[in-house]
């Protein structure tokens, strides 16, 4: 249902002062998010952004929509709760690599398993920015920090984990290419089911290795490769593991499977929050105990 003739970028004017570092990769992601919401013709009040803690988690404050800015690592459970009781909301979880893959690792795995109709953006800068530069689960091997003086241990491949968990939509974008990223985000939101969009995002303050230039030299778009098929899980697994001289961006894997609201029986129904409960209905249950 549309209430307004046309949604424009003006509708997503930042609601509060921005506290990111100048030059942060998050600015590109913010731009892409807003572009995607406009392309999807979503009015701000139709959107709920749920975030955890970290620099990425501040993004919802810098656009305009409903916000639930919760706990470190916990955006996905909160997003599931909200989406389940109000399926009219477009729910986007904003998360970072520490938030989604570290503190929230368990939720990450099980949310992919459940397949709720939620989009999850993971800003992956391979470092903990908000706590000043410690290693994250995706930090490259050998990267040293004050807390990891011997160098980070081997890095997690979250997209490979996602393929293994049969995540129904997996994409990767790059903060240095916001227009392309906006297209991926819009596609992810349209996907019925859980959509993971990882965004390679340079941290200008604490990650002097994985810079804009470092990524520019490595990223390539999967759809420009011969024989690419996002429905091929084995190929997706190979792409998800590719991390070196070439790093793939684009839709890595996609398939449709039963969504969590279909499983719960709430799909296609009025938002549960609009129902008026009747205490007297409980009377029908008393016979069980008589």
């Amino acid at each position: 249902m549309k209430d307004k003739a046309k949604v424009t970028l003006d509708d997503f004017t930042p609601a509060s002062e921005n506290a990111w570092c100048p030059g942060c990769g998050n600015f590109g992601i913010l731009k892409a998010v807003n572009q995607a919401l406009v392309a999807l013709e979503l009015e701000p009040h139709r959107v709920l952004m749920v975030s955890g803690i970290g620099q990425a988690a501040k993004l919802p404050h810098y656009t305009r929509c409903n916000i639930f800015n919760g706990l470190h690592g916990r955006p996905l459970p909160a997003a599931i709760g909200a989406k389940t009781v109000n399926n009219a909301l477009t729910v986007i979880a904003e998360s970072g690599d520490g938030d989604a893959y570290g503190e929230g690792g368990n939720h990450f795995i099980h949310t992919m398993n459940r397949n709720p109709d939620i989009t999850c953006l993971v800003h992956n800068n391979q470092v903990y920015g908000l706590t000043k530069g410690q290693a994250s689960p995706t930090t490259d091997l050998g990267f040293t920090t004050k807390l990891n003086p011997e160098g980070a241990w081997t890095a997690l491949h979250p997209l490979a984990l996602a393929v293994a968990a049969d995540c129904s939509f997996i994409a990767r974008g790059f903060a240095g290419d916001p227009d392309y990223l906006a297209g991926l985000i819009a596609e992810a939101v349209r996907h019925p089911g859980f959509a993971l969009v990882e965004v390679l995002q340079p941290c200008v303050s604490f990650n002097k290795k994985n810079t804009f230039q470092w990524y520019q030299e490595r990223v390539y778009k999967v759809e420009e490769e011969e024989g690419y098929d996002p429905g091929d899980r084995a190929m997706a697994f190979a792409l998800a593991l590719e991390w070196g001289t070439r790093i793939p961006i684009g839709v890595i894997y996609r398939r449709e499977r039963e969504t969590f609201d279909e499983y719960l029986g709430t799909a296609g129904r009025e938002p549960l929050v609009t129902a008026a409960p009747d205490p007297r209905r409980v009377k029908e249950l008393f016979a069980e105990f008589a």
Binding site: S16, H45, K58, R64, N66, G81, A82, H110
Partner: protein, 577 residues
């Protein structure tokens, strides 16, 4: 002569002890009696020793009794463990040929070949428990038709053939017991008119309370003793349009519930101490984001995994203080099924009125025991949804909506995200009225004060303890939650011995009704605080909030429930009563 009959059913885990107890209990309630039935079991699925006790009275009863009039032994170990608990004139029912139990010393013995009878009459050894159940009722000459009706209730879903076979097996067991009734056993129980009352567990009462309160979302991770709440609600999920989610852990469960609460649903989770520990981060989140959420905390004996299937009231002070930082909350502690239903409804109302978490603290004894209750008065259930923006404001305010607007009550009108045009911004960081991150000292101070003002309003909603006063009393027995039933019964026993006794029973504990408690205790005799914990948490709370120190404490912390006998024995030994 007042009826107070206690039947103990013992056996291994997996032998159906609880089912036998439930059938006996239901048969008694249908005959107009009041029943309290509790369970004692180990943390294992097969083997070990477990028992259920069904106490039958002609007046309301909320406590177990430690001596048994009838011991129904499904295995040999039950005979050796419980022989000494049989009252003079009581009886033991067992199957000696089967399990070779040594039963010398029982006042009266009925040795009944339950397996043979089950096979002969019912066609299957599976009906041995039905035979044994019927034998107990046969000894008492209780109305057989009531038992037949209960068996239909119990087995109806398996079809009429199963019901008929069970009724036949029951008839055979009943007749055998009447024919072989030990000469010394004179106890008889006559069924009266049905009272229309229900027999249900504390957990079931809490679950029904949640449904009556319009619970709209449940997430939880299974943990004894609260799992049955989740299971019951999951069973009703489709009928009541209630999503019940088995979360990957308790952290996810509370965060899901908070997300659903933010979106406008009445959300709850149920757990016990260990799970609650994991939830405390989310509890603070609910406090900071001012999100209504109901948490059932089914206490069991801790710390850590403790005695996972046993009872304790060891988390009162934890429930009051859990979560980092300072925020308002309510803690209710229902002591029986009737109170469990009411407390759950009230918890949802308080959570939404004050936009803050509310904890319903039960314990294993309250959660898993069966209580006799009149059908809950659903007409008396009111849903108080708290303060909301009117539709017009919710649409016109848009991005100007202040989720955390400063108000005198501390309560800011809510709006439903996605339903209206108001943008609802909730934040775990300290935030502005509009819900955006702030760091400045002045706003921080005002937000802290705004949130804490809600505690003042909440305090006005908390019921003072129930008080029963006797002129010139020597002692006041003070108890909370599941301790209330045993304390009341202990009061009766002590009165019977010539003491003058007051009682003060808490079912709601936070915000603490300090003024009323001080008034009560200032006109009391010596105070005796009775708790199922080792450190005297209610006694500490009373002293912290009123400055009044308990004179005597009765504590039980062996994982077993409080009983009147235990309380009186402790008072005799420790305090010379």
């Amino acid at each position: 002569m007042a009826v107070d009959l206690n039947i103990l059913i013992g056996g291994e885990a997996g032998q159906g002890v609880v089912s036998v107890g439930a059938v006996l209990g239901r048969a008694m309630v249908r005959g107009g009696y009041e029943v309290f039935a509790d369970q004692d079991f180990e943390s294992r699925i097969r083997g070990g020793h477990s028992f259920a006790r069904v106490r039958v009275c002609d007046r309301p009863v909320d406590a177990s009794r430690e001596t048994a009039d009838l011991v129904l032994a499904l295995n040999a170990e039950t005979v050796s463990l419980h022989l000494g608990e049989i009252t003079p004139g009581g009886a033991l029912i067992h199957s000696a040929g089967r399990n070779g139990a040594v039963s010398e010393g029982a006042p009266n013995r009925l040795d009944i070949p339950v397996h043979d009878i089950a096979i002969d009459a019912g066609g299957s050894p599976k009906m041995a428990n039905t035979v044994a159940t019927a034998a107990a009722l046969g000894l008492l000459e209780y109305d057989f038709d009531i038992l037949a009706g209960v068996l239909e209730h119990q087995y109806g879903r398996h079809g009429s053939a199963v019901v008929e076979a069970n009724v036949k097996a029951a008839r055979a067991g009943y007749d055998y017991a009447r024919k072989h009734c030990p000469a010394g056993f004179k106890m008889r129980l006559k069924a009266g008119r049905p009272s229309g009352k229900l027999l249900l567990t504390g957990n079931e009462a809490v679950a029904l309370g949640a449904l009556a309160a319009g619970v709209g979302f449940v997430a939880g991770y299974p943990m004894t003793p609260s799992t049955p709440i989740l299971e019951y609600l999951a069973g009703k999920g489709r009928d009541f349009s209630l999503p019940v989610i088995q979360a990957e852990d308790e952290i996810a469960a509370i965060n899901m519930a908070v997300g659903a609460g933010y979106a406008g649903a009445r959300a709850m989770t149920a757990t016990s101490g260990g799970g609650f520990s994991l939830m405390t981060e989310g509890l603070a989140l609910a406090g900071m984001t001012e999100t209504p959420v109901v948490i059932v905390l089914g206490q069991r004996a801790g710390p850590a995994t403790g005695l996972p299937t046993r009872t304790e009231q060891g988390e009162l002070l934890y429930a009051i203080h859990a979560g980092h930082g300072e925020f308002p909350r309510a803690v209710l502690a229902p002591g029986n099924a009737q109170e469990g239903f009411r407390a759950t409804v009230k918890a949802f109302n308080l959570a939404e009125k004050f936009q803050t978490p509310v904890i319903v603290a039960t314990d294993h004894q309250m959660a898993d025991s069966y209580y006799t209750v009149a059908p809950f008065d659903l007409e008396a259930v009111t849903l108080e949804r708290g303060e909301w923006l009117c539709d017009q404001d919710a649409d016109s305010q848009g991005a100007d909506y202040k989720r955390y607007a400063f108000t005198d009550s501390g309560i800011s009108p809510r709006a439903l995200p996605g339903i209206h045009r108001a943008l609802v911004s909730a934040d775990s960081d300290e935030h502005s009225e509009a819900g955006h991150i702030i760091e400045d000292a002045a706003t921080r101070r005002r937000m802290v004060e705004k949130r804490l003002r809600k505690q003042v309003g909440l305090a006005g909603e908390i019921a003072p303890p129930l008080s029963a006063r006797v002129e010139g009393a020597d002692y006041t027995l003070i108890s909370w939650g599941s301790g209330n039933g045993p304390a009341m019964e202990a009061s009766g026993m002590l009165t019977g011995r010539g003491h003058r006794i007051n009682t003060l029973r808490f079912t709601e504990l936070w915000p603490f009704p300090a003024e009323r408690v001080r008034q009560e205790l200032e006109k009391s005799g010596k105070s005796i605080v009775i708790e199922s914990n080792a450190t005297g948490q209610l006694a500490r709370l009373i002293r912290a909030e009123t400055g009044i120190q308990a004179d005597i404490r009765v504590n039980r912390y062996d994982g077993r429930p409080l009983s009147a006998e235990y309380i009186v024995a402790q008072l005799e030994q420790e305090a010379g009563l």
